[in-house]
Structure formats: C-alpha cells, structure tokens
Amino acid sequence: MSTTVPAGGTKATGVDKLVQTNPDYDPNIVVEAQNLSKVYRDFWGRQKVQALRSLDLEIRRGEVFGLLGPNGSGKSTTIKLLLGLLFPTSGRAVVLGKDATEVSKNERIGYLPEESYLYRFLTAEETLDFYGRLFDMPADIRRQRSAELIEKVGLTWAKRRQLREYSKGMVRRIGLAQALINDPDLILLDEPTSGLDPLGTREMKDMILDLKAQGKTILMCSHLLADVQDVCDRIAILYQGELKELGRVDSLLKVGDETQVRFKGVPESAHAEIRQLIEKHGGSVLALENPRTTLEELFLTIVRESQARPGHRGEGARSSG
C-alpha cells in the first residue's frame, strides 16, 4: 500500500497475470475504445437516442483519466460499455487487452457505480465478504482484506450495521471499499464525489491520489470540474456523445500569454515598482492583489481545527470574520 510508483511506471501488476490472447496487446494501454458508438433503441428497434458517437480513446497505465461533460453527454454510457454492462452498437472496447464483454477482465477491475448500488440488508462486513467470494478469494484472505478496507475507508465503528442505516457518504465509502476488494489495477469511478460533503469529497480525492501513487490506473467521470482538475492527469470532454477535447489537464488549462507570480514578504509600497517593471517590458498588469483561499480550503481548515480543539472557534473563522 505504501510503495509509490510514478505514473506510467513498470511495476509488475496483475494485468500481466491475465492470460492474454490478444496479439496486439500493449501492456501500457489499459483501456482502448475504437470507434465506439452506442444507440439506444426502443422495443421495436427504433432509434431513441445516440448516446455515444465514434469515441476513440486510450488510457495508459498509471494515469488518472477524467471523463468530463454535462448530464447526458455519454460519460456513464462509456463506462458501462467498458464494463460490458452495455453492448456497443458499433466499434470496440478493449479493457486490459480483452474485449469488454469478457468476464475474465473483471478479475483486475474495480468499479464504483454512480450511486453505490449495494445490498442494503447486508452489513459492511457481509458486503465485503460477499464481493470477496465473487472473486473466489479464500476465507482468510477475504477476512483480512475486508478488515483492511473497512479501516481504510474509516467505517470500523459501523462495520456491523446494515447499509440501510448508513448515510450517503458512508455508503459511498463502502462502495469504494468493494471496488478495491480485489486490489484492482484499473478502477472505474462513476461520479465518485456525488453526494459527498466537502470533507468526504476531499477524502475521496485523497484516496484517488493515493491509489494513483500505488500505480493504479483510474478512470473517473464527473461533472464537478474542480474534482477533475484536482486529481486527473488527462481528461476527455464529451458533449452530446461526441468527444470534444482530449489532453493533459495542465496543458489544457495553461493560458499561454499570461504569467502568474506569487511572492511573500514584500511590502505594498513595492507594488508600484513591480508595475513599472512589467510595463517597461511591454506587458500590462491584470491583477496585483492578495490571493484568496477557496471556500473548500476554508471549510476544511475550520473542520480540522474543530476536530483538533473541540469548543474553540477556528483560525479560519476568526480571520474571515
């Protein structure tokens, strides 16, 4: 759990354990969509909606890939096609070198659905035990892995309660735990932060980054732009089933003709001098002000301080009040 492997690293993972029959298999390409299209039809075969149009995509080992788009843009459809929950109308989806409809690829996959569709009458322990059995795990490994994951997602105190008594955030956490039960190489997360409070969102993002640090490949889809920006290496933007943009987050967001400088410990009197220097080089100053923290950061600071010192008003609250 603690070894850090750089993105695109060559750690021997379970991918290699899968028996490969695909001669074109490149172990560095974990997910590949070729001309993938999906048309939803009604009972009589009439076209209802074209959910995905000729999607070409490659996701490399060790990266966090974000599928971005408004509601109904085809994000979930793409994930369902990659999981074999839907059959493509045309094109092909290859996951870990195998066709998406093949069951054996699931050995090395973890999937967190949009809403954690879990059996509400099971407890957290029973849930993980059940999914562990589906991976044909022996009892002792199942028990050990369940305990580790429950600890990791912070539900040890509620592990014997039925999921129907859980809050949405707790269900989301146990949903993530079930996705990780088999220590997968590829993790598909459908709207991982939906329904979570800022604290939960932050924890989820931290967990994603932690998984990335372990060399896992992650494909997530979301319409919450900040989340994607925080964790993803590369993103694809979908709109009405079509791929509109694809690339690295840092290069996509880079504004080429502007430069941002942040410094500390310089008095306000020096600002005029700085303006003059910029204008001397032919530039114009767009903003020269104290930076603001994000509301998320402020909220997290307050909560963490409150947890550390119960009964005291937080630093952040005083400074903003």
Binding site: G45, K80, L83, G84, L85, L86, F87, V103, S104, N106, E107, I109, Y111, P113, E115, S116, Y117, L118, Y119, F121, L122, F130, Y131, R133, L134, F135, D136, G175, Q178, N182
Partner: protein, 663 residues
C-alpha cells in the same frame, strides 16, 4: 384410485434420455435460429453470424469454469434477500394459521379421517410452497436489475451460469428448509389430530360390562347384528365423533396356531376335537381404524384397556400384475376389453354372456411375475384387493350385486411339456365403487393338467410351492358370471397386497413429490426472469404449469391417429369444407401433406415435453389413499427434475448472457 403408469426406472431411463436429448437438440436449433434472427435485426445478417458463433463458443468455458464458491455466495445472498422480502415468513404464517384453525373443521369422526387430514396438509403445503416458489424466484432477478444492485455483481468475474445457478440453488435451499419444517409440523398435526382412545360404556370398565348375545336372533343388546362367533358384546363411549363395538369372541384354532395378540385373551380351553378355543375381546373396526385391546388384571373380570387408533396410517404395497389381456365372448384374444360405449376408457370390460348366447368365454387375464412368499405379511393367507367397475345392461334391483368369479393358474415355462395347475373357481359378488379384499388361502383346491389338458391329479395345491414354483409367475383369470352384465377392470384394479411400507417413509416420499414440483417451479421462475419482468414471469410460469397439468390431453391431440389429421390436413379440411371423418383424395399433394403433418406432430409432441408433466410428479393421491409410493416413481420424478434444472439453467444462461444488464 386411478393408476395408469407403472414406471420401471431402469427401463424408463434410456427412452427418457433420448427424448431429453431430442428436446435439447430441437431447443438448441430453435434457440440458435431465434438468436440469429435477433442478432440480424441488430447487426445485419453477416455480423450476426459471428455474434451467434461467439456466444455459443463462449458458453462452453462459462459452463466449465463455473465456480461453486461464487454459486454458493450468490445462493446465500438470494436466501438473505428472500428472507428480507418476508415472502417465506408470510407463507409459513398462512400455513401455521391454517393448521391452528383448520383442525376445527376437520371431522375426525368421518369415514377415512386420515385421508381428510392428509389431503388437507398435503394440498395446503403444496399450494403454499408452489406459490412461494413462483414469487421468490420471479421477483429476485428483475428486482436486482431494476435497483441496479446487479451492476456491482456482474462487474466482478461472475459468469451468467453462476448468477442463474446461484439463484436457483439459493431459493431451492430456502424452499427445502421451509418444506421440511412444514412437513414435520404436518406429520405431528396429522398424528396428534387422529390420536385418540376410548373407554368402555359402563362403570366397571371390565368384561362384566359386556352383555350376552341373543342366541335366537343373533342380535346384541343394542339391537345390532353381532359377529357369528361373538359371545358377548358392548360398546365404547363416543370420542372424536365416533364409537366402536366391543365383542368377546370365540376363536377356535388348531393346537399349533396361536393368536398373534395374546393380551386380549380372557380365557382358553381345549376342545375335545383337539382344537383350542381362545375367548378374546376385540374392538371392531369403524371409520377406517380400530384399537388394540389389552386385558388387565386377574380372574374372570378383567379390565378392558383400548390402545391408540391403529390402521389409519397405512402404506399398502400393491403387487400389480405384469400384464393384463382380454378375451372376448368367442374366446378371441383382444388387447383391450369390450368397449361399453361412452364410458371411461380406463377400464376394459368382460361380459357374462346373454340368455341367447350363454357360456361366454370373455375373461380378463392378469399375469403376475416375480412372486415370492417373503413379499407378504402372512404367506399362508394373502389378500387380493380389488376395485372393479360394473356395467349393467339392465338395472332391475340396483342393490343386487353382480356375480363374478376368479381362478388361479400356474404359468409353466414350457407349456407344451410341463403340467399346469388350475385352481377351482372362486365365486364372489361385487359392486361398483367398492374396495374388496378377498383373502386367498395358501392351500388351494384344484387340479393338475398335463399339456394336452387331461387331468392327472386333483386335490390341494400350495400357492407358492406348486402354482408359483421356480418361475415366480401366477395367472389370475377373472370372469363375469351374471348374464347381460359386465365387469370392468384395469391393471391397477386388482392387486395382491404385499408387506406394508413404513408410513413415515411414505410420508417422506409424498413430500419429495412436492419438493420436486417446487424445485422445477423455482428453476422456471429464475430462468424466465432473466429475460422477462416479474409479472410476466409469474404469468408464464402459470401457463407452463397449466400446460403441464394438461399435458396428457395435449398429447392426445397430437396423436397421428387423431381424427381429421395433423395441422396441415385439418387446415385443408377447413378451407375445403370437408368433415373430419371424410377421406381425403389420394395423390402426391395428400401424401406430402400427411408426411409433413407427421413431422410436425412429432416435433410438437417433443415440445410438449418442455412443460413438466405434473401428474407424474404428484404423489399426494398415493399417500392419502394409503398406498406405498413406488421408489421407481420417485426416481423417475427426480430424474425429470434434474433434466428440467439442466434445461432451464441453460436457457437462463443464454438469456442473461445475451441481454444488456444496464439501460
């Protein structure tokens, strides 16, 4: 009781396996064709070919690599899920409620009260368990798909076989548990419901309470006719709606034959002719049961104690004849008996001749095989039980019973060389709707005939040592002795009564029948719910059950001998306005039509096997009528259950595999 099939598992198995394979092949061909058509609709004719091939090729590893750990994981989940739905609890609650208050309405004083009780629990259990089976199996998968919980299951390395089998096994285990519980409770309910004893009318409860029989009229103190050998009589008090008469009888026996129960002997003395007289107190049977009498105390006046009800819970073992053939009035061999018109075809009839043509040679011949003395409780006196049909061409006095006769014959292995032993004719009276028991003594008077029919010896012959000898065969010839009247028999109407089976073992077999029906219905529910919604699944399961219950009728329509021909010929008759009986002009078109019909009828007949024949799976009637359920019959039903499970698991697999789980 109507019994039309006498299965022999080992003989049945090869033919049944062939039918199973044929149905499987036809199903596979039709299924592949349907799959290809659907794939063509989705992908076009060329790609469809590859899609179908891929699905078929993928099926083999899916079946071979099925993991039982995963199957059992899904089975456990299904059990928990079904328990949570409370269908099982509701079923048990209805059952418990029915038993709690059902007892009020069951009349223990009725004739055959055991039949009433057994019918009640068996029918109730069967209906509740089948209903529960349909409900839990039909709702589970569609509900799982609707709530999308199945997403987290199918995205694990779980094969469609494991999902289908897991559900089937899970619900099977749950249903079995419930059925075991219901069976045990039913057993106790029936046992306790009928358990009773009586006291004797009179303060003393002793033999002094018995009053003498009027020797002139033969009537007892209550004015009823007493047994011929009765000395005194009395009666019990009313209990469970009935009472019994008690008699002190004079049982005269040879010195070497003691009564089995000596506990009810009041006194015994030697008669001057070398026989011993036992004066015993007996309780006369009433309402299908009796009570064992025990005399307690010393001296002349002993206390009479009646034991618990005996004779209720029987598992009679009928030893049926291997074959039944008929001869008509002229002595011609016929496969069936005389057809007496629009009567039930189950029985064939033999006639007693008419006044114009007396001396009818009409007879029914039963050939028994493999008879051995060990098969009977008391080989010295075996019981022949009969339920004969009577057809009267004139009524006259409807109360008058019809005269019939029987005789036994040995069946030599080589009739041209070996002698034959023929018993004297035993004449008896019979009547419709009556179960008769004729005790047959081991020593029968008769004659030995040589192969050309000459009598070589007359005298007393031993049933086992002379008639049956080494080959275990015995022939029974039944005739009607009343002119203008007919006696109807079927193979199951006449049987020798063997040693009784244990009642609890028979009870268990009866419940195995219900279990088999439940298991098939659960498999159907799961298989259909892989491609249908819950209400449609329930509807479809009900349709298959209805077809299953009437499969005999449907098969009758598909016989090549059916009037009017097959589907094409019938259609031809409709459009050309020909009646059903009129001949169709010969020619190539007719031949083609009739040959195609034959093929169609055969295929349709094969398809009727797709619905389980529930009449073959239901043993309740045997149990309620007190007959032992043949182990071969249970084995046939178990094999049918296994065949349906295999077929339905395959159907469920392909339907689940080829459907899109997500929407």
């Amino acid at each position: 009781m109507v019994v039309e099939s006498f299965p022999d598992f080992l003989k049945w198995l090869p033919d049944a396996s062939l039918v199973f394979l044929l149905v499987l092949v036809i199903g596979a061909v039709l299924g592949t064709l349907a799959g290809y058509l659907i794939a063509t609709f989705r992908h076009g004719p060329f790609e469809a070919f590859y899609v179908v091939a891929e699905v078929l090729a993928g099926a083999i590893p899916d079946f071979l690599k099925t993991s039982w750990r995963r199957v059992m994981a899904i089975a456990r989940l299904s059990i928990k899920e079904a328990m949570r739905r409370r269908i099982v609890l509701a079923t048990f609650a209805v059952f418990a409620f029915a038993l709690l208050f059902g007892g009020w309405f069951l009349n223990t004083g009725a004739e055959n009260a055991d039949r009433l009780y057994l019918n009640f629990v068996l029918w109730g259990t069967q209906m509740l368990v089948l209903l529960m089976g349909i409900l839990i199996s039909s709702f589970s998968l569609p509900e799982d798909i609707k709530s999308r919980t199945i997403y987290t299951v199918v995205t694990k390395p779980v094969r469609a076989t494991e999902i289908v089998l897991g559900r089937m096994v899970g619900f099977g285990i749950l249903g079995t548990g419930l059925l075991v519980l219901m069976g045990l409770i039913s057993f106790v309910f029936v046992w306790r419901g009928l358990s009773h004893t009586h006291q004797i009318v009179g303060d003393t409860q002793t033999t002094a309470a018995l009053s003498p029989i009027d020797s002139a009229t033969g009537l007892n103190a209550q004015g009823q006719r007493a047994s011929d050998n009765a000395l005194k009589s009395g009666e019990t008090v009313f209990e469970s709606g009935h009472n019994h008469s008690i008699e002190l009888i004079e049982d005269i026996r040879d010195a070497d034959s003691k009564p089995i129960n000596m506990g009810n002997v009041l006194r015994q003395y030697d008669r001057n002719d070398g026989k011993i007289v036992y004066e015993r107190v007996i309780c006369n049977p009433a309402y299908g049961h009796t009570h064992e009498v025990t005399l307690v105390g010393e001296g002349e006046e002993k206390r009479i104690v009646l034991g618990p009800a005996a004779g209720y819970f029987r598992a009679r073992v009928p030893i049926y004849a291997g074959s039944l053939i008929f001869y008509d009035g002229q002595g011609e061999l016929k496969e069936r008996g005389i057809d007496v018109g629009t009567e039930w075809r189950y029985r064939g009839y033999v006639d007693g001749g008419t006044y114009l043509t007396p001396g009818s040679l009409s007879r029914a011949v039963f050939d028994f095989n493999d008879l051995q003395p060990e098969m009977f409780d008391n080989p010295d006196r075996i019981n022949l039980e009969m339920t004969l049909g009577v057809f009267r061409t004139f009524v006259g006095n409807i109360q008058k019973r019809v005269m019939a006769s029987m005789r036994f014959e040995s069946v030599p292995n080589n009739p041209e060389l070996e002698d034959r032993i023929v018993s004297d004719t035993i004449v008896f009276e019979t009547q419709e709707f009556e179960v008769q028991t004729l005790p047959i003594s081991r020593k029968l008077r008769g004659e030995r005939q040589n192969p050309n029919g000459t009598v070589v010896e007359t005298g007393e012959f031993d049933l086992f040592d002379d008639f049956i000898k080494g080959n275990g065969k015995l022939r029974l010839i039944l005739r009607c002795e009343d002119k203008n009247q007919y006696i109807g028999v079927s193979l199951a109407d006449v049987y020798l009564r063997g040693k009784d089976d244990l009642f609890w073992a028979n009870f268990l077999k009866g419940y195995i029948g219900i279990w088999i029906q439940m298991m098939i219905i659960i498999a159907m529910g799961v298989a259909f719910s892989t491609f249908l919604s819950s209400p449609i699944t329930i509807l479809m399961a009900c349709v298959v059950i209805l077809v299953g219950f009437s499969s005999d009728f449907i098969r009758g329509l598909l016989l090549p001998t059916a009037v009017g021909g097959g589907p094409i010929e019938s259609f031809y008759r409709v459009i050309t306005q020909k009646n059903m009986e009129a001949g169709v002009e010969a020619g190539m078109v007719t031949s083609l039509m009739q040959e195609t019909d034959k093929l169609l009828l055969k295929s349709l007949e094969m398809l009727t096997n797709l619905a389980p024949d529930f009449s073959k799976l239901n043993f309740a009637e045997f149990l309620t009528h007190g007959y032992s359920i043949d182990t071969d019959r249970v084995l046939v039903a178990l094999a049918m259950c296994l065949a349906f499970w295999c077929g339905l698991a395959v159907l469920g697999y392909f339907c689940l595999k080829t459907r899109e789980i997500a929407k």
